[in-house]
Structure formats: C-alpha cells, structure tokens
Subunit: 427 residues, 2 copies
C-alpha cells in the first residue's frame, strides 16, 4: 500500500465528510440554483470541455482504443446539451430532503415520524463515459450528499474539466467545492483504498462491466449498490392482443441490443404456442435475431422455412444467459405458475414482464415475480430512472437491500426517526 | 472448514430459500392466524418450555454461569406470557406486504409504482435470551420472510423447544415448517458459514455484544443490520420548562442504566448553566450518578457540597463513551450550533435529544443531528420499536443504509417497482 495514495484518499475523504455536513443543510433553493448554474456553465464552457475531451480521444487513439470503447469516451455538443438539460430537469424536481412522513401520536403521547435525510458521502466508480461525472455530481447536489468520483483513467482530462465546472457552480452558490471531488490520481490502488474506507464513504456505486462490479463487491468494506446482469424475461400468457404483444416483444428485444433492460428470454404459454410462435419468430427473424429454443418450441418452428443460423436448440445455460446481442432464448411453459417459477429460478431479478388480458394472472405475476421491476403489457426497455419518473438515475440495483431497481435521489437518502414530545417519560 | 457443518447450512439454506417463496405468497389472514396459533401454543406448552429452560439453567449453573448472563437465560411464566401477547399484537398490525405506493402515470403512458415485498431469508444470530427466538420468528412470519436462527449454545434446549412450537404453528396453518429454522448444531463455525452464504440469506441481524457484531460485520459477505453502541446525548437549550427538563433527564439517565438508549452525555447551554447545572447535579447525585464534567461545568459544581466520588473532570475519551452505568458526561456549550457539532462528532448516531421551547432551535436540531432517532422534549429511552409503534423490534440499526433506528416489519422488506402498461413501446 503506497502511503501517498492512502494520504490522498484520506485528504479527499475528510474534506468530503466535512462538506457533507454543509450540503446536507443546503436549502432546496440553493441546490436548485446550483444545478441551474451548472447547466449554464456546461453550455458556456463547451469549447473548453470538448478540447479536454479531444486530449483524451487522442491519447486513446494513440494507444489503439477503437470501437464502442472509443465511442463511449466521446463528448459532443449534443451530449453536453443533454447533460445541461438533465441538470435543469433535476433542479425542477421536488426536493425530498427533510420530508417528514408518518408522523403519528403513540400511546405514550410522543409523536413519531420519519425524516428523509442525505446518506452522507457516496463514492462512484465508473468507466469511460465522461457524462457520468455530471450525472453523479448533479444527483449528489440534489440529494444533499457529498461524493467522491473515480472515472476511468482514459477519460481523466474530460472528467477533470467537468469536475472543475461542478466545483465552480458549487462555490458560486455558497456551497463547499469539496462536496463533489474527483480522484485525480490514475493509480489503480486508489479504488481499493476508497472502497475500504467506511470512515469516508457511506456507500459505493460502481458502474461498469461485471468484472469491475464483482471485484468491488468482494473487496468493499462499505455497502455497495450493485448492478449485476439483466437476464430479462417476457411471458406471453394468451393471444388476445396478439399484435400488441408482437410489437412489445419486438421493441423489448430489438430497439437496442446492449442495454441491461433488453429482452433476453421469451416464455410462451403452451395453449397459444402453436399459432403464436411462428408469428413472433417471423418478426424477430426479420431483424436477424437468433432463437435458442426448447424442444416444444423447436417442434413448432423447425418445420417453417428459415435461415438455419437463426434457430438453435437451447442448452440449460441459455436460460441463465444475458446475451446483449440479437439472440433470444424461447421456452414453452404450461401456465403462469410455471412461468413465475422459471423466472424466479433463472432470472437475474432485474426486469420481467407478462403479456396478458387476464387480471388474476397479471396480479399474481406482479406479486410473485421476485425482480426489481415487474411489468404488465409493456416493454422491459422501460426499466429506467427517467422513464420511471425519478428525474435521474445513478444506476440500477439488482440487490434487495436498501435500493432496488433504478436508483435516483431517494436511493441516496435514508430515513431517520424524529420524535416530538412534551415531557413524556418512559415508565 | 468441516464439510458436515457446510452440508448442514446448505441443507437449511436451500430449505429456507424454498420456504421463503411459499411464505412470501401467504395471505394476510394466514399469517395472522399463524401468529394466533403460536400465542396459544406458548401458553398451552408452558410446562414443556420451562422444563427445557430448566435443563439450560442447570447446565449453565454447573459451568459456573451467574449474574446477568444467568438471569437473561431464564424463561418464566411472565416472559412467556409477554411473548404470547407480542405475537397477538403483531397479528393485529396491518399487513404491509403487497402494499402499493406512488403509482403514477408517466409521460410514456406507463403507470409506475412500488410494491412492498419480503426481503427473502434473514439470518439472526443472538446470545442468551431465548425469547428472542419468538421475537424473530413472529417478525419473520408477519413480514413473509423465512429465517434461520442461531441462538447461543447456552440456550439450545430452550430455543429448540420454542422453535418446535413455531414450526407446529406454521404447519397447522398450511405454511412450510422450514420457514423458521433453528441451527441445531452448537459448533461455532456454523455462524461463519451462514454469514458467507449470500445464496441462502439476504441479510444477517446480529444481536449481542460489540465483539460479536464487529466480528460478524467484518466476516460477512451478505448485508448486516448492525447495532453498535448508543452514546446518547441530551442538550438543554434553555431553562423555560426547568422541572420538565429535570424529569426527562432523570428518566433518560436513571430509569435503567444498561439499555442502549439510556442517556450518556448531557450538554447544557452556557446561558443557563449557572442556575441549572446545580439542580440537575442534585437530582442525579441523589441516584448515585457520577458526573464527568468539562472545566466550565466544574466551576459551577465543584463548590457545591458533594460526594467527591460523584464529580470528576472529563477526559476527551469521556465524550465518546457509552457507560451503561450510573455515570454521565456533562459539557457546557455556547449554543445550539455547538451542541449539534459536538453530537455529530462524538455521538454514536443512535439517539439524541434537545430540550427547548425555541421552535427554530428544535427544527434545526431535528434536521441537522445525524442520528437514527432525534427527539425534542422527551426521554432518549423512548427509542424503541414498541414505543415507536412498529409493533415489534428485531434490533436497532445504527447504520444509514436500508434500515435506520428500530427495525420492525418494514426493515425486513424491500420495495420493487411495478409497471402497468397497455402496449407502450420505448421510443
């Protein structure tokens, strides 16, 4: 352990802890104005930001980075505009800090309720996309938390330029600049030190590949809001709204292949598999989607004219798979009970949907499927903080503890008890 | 690692996981009836329970256990009656499982809300007091969770007898008996295996000494609801309701010395220290409470006639101390700001109170003190699940993550998103 890195993290941590007390007390108006200032600065300083980003891009190019990784690193006028609009939208959301709920008088005479307060300091560890710096910083300001950000070394120039604007916005509005800090060193062990420092951070939010998240979860000594994989299911219960169901499945699978909320596994009720499977296969084959199917689905589909590369028999492993690609596993099930059982066993508990006109089946599915987002008659692609009305999203939690599903401002808060008395004594 | 212990925990864990799916679906009526049956059995089988407890007591006596440890091990007719009443009270509480909140239509047309669901399986690790078996089991049933209980080896006969009744109540009401399981082996490594098994338990709740909780937090690979120490403060802001304040402080400090919510540190505003400190000192000295005081308080108190053993100068360490004894640290502070700053620095973030008639000071204290329970004009001794109206308490969390303060049924649940659509597509 290098003492230099330890000292750097301790200095950032202490400053964050102190700033967190300050920003926790900030008024709703002060936080709203800070977000407004940040939006303005993002527009005014576009040239500075793009030029910093250019340095990252050149360095990436020189070291042979290309493809999606290179694309994700890129800032543009449009991306900065989206960041600015995001800040402005968040500014307009109601402030939940200080909200008191459930205040009720108890038999002793004391009145007991809960007050929503910031969690303190969060640490965010992320890769490539520099706009995450603004997403994390703006949620930090709105939620009254301090944060310590650690972006990827490939984006260090962009992240520094963005963090400078955030700190400027904080100071212009009377808030401590250390409320949002970027770890400037690119030394790898900085992450290891941070995630083992409960004295400085109350929760760690990693955003990146499964490897990163698994390593952080294993090594962390503070709570982690984890986002593991999204093996999302849709179960077709009947064929009463056939065309609507086809469109929903087409949207869930093909609108984008890489998001965690894209459809990965289709379950079809046996009573409708005969007429219905050929229809959905035709839709998906038109997009070049490969189907990996159970024996019963194979019987329905293999006799149809098709490209052999787009129809295969599923293996046991396929039911667990998050493809993030034009591939879909397909299984015929006896009824809603088998669908729920299959999903609770194989799903990654991210997002699962039922397509049905049967109210009882819809209610059972909603209650019994043990996933972060459970849907009726719509596309799994909607599992998203913005679509859910959270105003912003810092990640999607596949855990059940604390925050579950898309995490916005509320996921960065806790509820403390408040007690109002008039001299009551415990007997 | 003994494979026998590993196999035992794996068998319990798998059974708990399967039972958790079943009990999560149980109706409110079924859970209510199960708690009613359990209460009835606790009364009917009193002789069996007391005789099992007698075997534990004899074993404890033979191995030289005495004092508070021996007392805590003891079951009595009155304790069993309290357990039965607790089950009946919990049965009457509204069922929160399946409750849907915040269902609102989003711009896309989907309606998004949150549904409260059981967390799955919790593990409870506790020492001596066998009635915790019933408290944990009854909360498990009410919250629709399965649980795995690990009591102290000194209480194994009592715990086995109690767990047998719980399982009988479950089966009589059509619920799986494995919804509540007791680890029967007294081998120590069973705890180590359990707390590193995220596949079997979703959260661990340790109840016991600081040593036990620190060790479990360090070794666990699943979330832990921690209850560390209670260094509780009361700050006297004015002297406008002098007699009421004296009674509240007397109650908070002397009603019982050992609970975690007992008062450990008193802060007094400098403007009222002169007239007021002698009054509270006289009250507390009458109970034999030793005061460890700052220099300014010393100036006010040392000239009074007193027993020298009951007045000492405080050291820096005293401000951190949880005495659990007739000792109180006392400090004079300049104003409410210094009181809040002191508390946020030295408190264990358990429970802190202000005594004031000033509305603005009360509001600031409630908002800015970063503790699980923050109180105005009442005794810190009220920080308790029953007093807060939770119906039951499985522990008090000094963490900010997930559950904070007294943990009842809601602390054992999570909120999943539900989405109701009519064929909406993501654009």
């Amino acid at each position: 352990m290098s003492t230099t890195v330890q000292n750097q993290i301790d200095a950032l941590g202490l400053a964050a802890r102190q700033a967190s007390r300050h920003i926790a007390r900030a008024s709703a108006a002060q936080k709203r104005q800070t977000l407004g200032t940040l939006a303005r600065l993002l527009r005014e300083e576009e040239a500075v930001l793009l030029s910093a980003n250019q340095r990252d891009l050149e360095r990436a190019q020189a070291s042979g980075v290309s493809g999606p990784l290179f694309d994700r690193l890129k800032l543009s006028s449009a991306i900065l505009q989206t960041c600015a609009l995001g800040c402005e939208q968040l500014a307009l959301m109601p402030d939940v800090i200080g909200e008191v709920t459930g205040l009720r008088e108890q038999p002793s005479g004391i009145r007991v309720g809960q007050m929503r307060v910031p969690i303190g300091v969060f640490g965010m560890i992320y890769e490539s996309r520099p706009n995450v710096t603004i997403e994390a910083a703006s949620l930090s300001i709105k939620s009254g938390n301090a944060c310590i950000l650690r972006g990827g070394s490939e984006a260090i120039e962009s992240n520094k330029a963005l963090a400078t604007l955030v700190q400027k916005a904080l100071v212009l509005n009377g808030l401590p600049q250390t409320a949002v800090q970027l770890i400037q060193t690119t030394e790898r062990e900085a992450v290891g030190v941070l995630i083992r420092s409960p004295q400085w951070v109350d929760v760690i939010i990693p955003r990146g590949g499964k490897g990163l998240i698994a390593r952080i979860s294993e090594e962390a000594r503070v709570p982690v809001i984890k986002h593991l994989d999204g093996n999302c299911h849709t179960y077709v219960d009947d064929a009463l709204e056939s065309e609507m169901y086809l469109k929903v499945i087409e949207n869930a699978k093909t609108q984008k292949y890489s998001p965690c909320n894209a459809l990965e596994s289709l379950l079809v009720n046996a009573s409708v598999a005969g007429p219905w499977l050929p229809k959905i296969a035709a839709r998906l084959w038109a997009h070049g989607v490969e189907l990996r199917v159970c024996d019963e689905a194979w019987a329905h589909l293999s006799t149809l004219p098709h490209d052999g590369a787009l129809l295969k028999r599923a293996t046991e492993q396929d039911w667990f798979e998050e493809y993030l690609a034009p591939i879909l596993s397909v299984k015929v099930v006896a009824d809603v009970s088998e669908a729920i059982e299959h999903i609770n066993h194989y799903s990654s508990h991210h997002t699962d949907a039922i397509l049905t006109q049967n109210h009882t089946h819809a209610q059972r599915f909603l209650r019994e499927v043990d996933s972060a987002s459970v849907m009726v008659n719509t596309s799994t692609r909607f599992a998203d903080g913005f679509e859910f009305g959270l105003g912003a999203e810092i990640g999607i939690s596949t855990d059940k503890f604390h925050a579950r599903g898309p995490v916005g401002v509320e996921g960065l808060t806790s509820l403390k008890y408040i007690v109002l008395g008039q001299g009551e004594l415990r007997g």
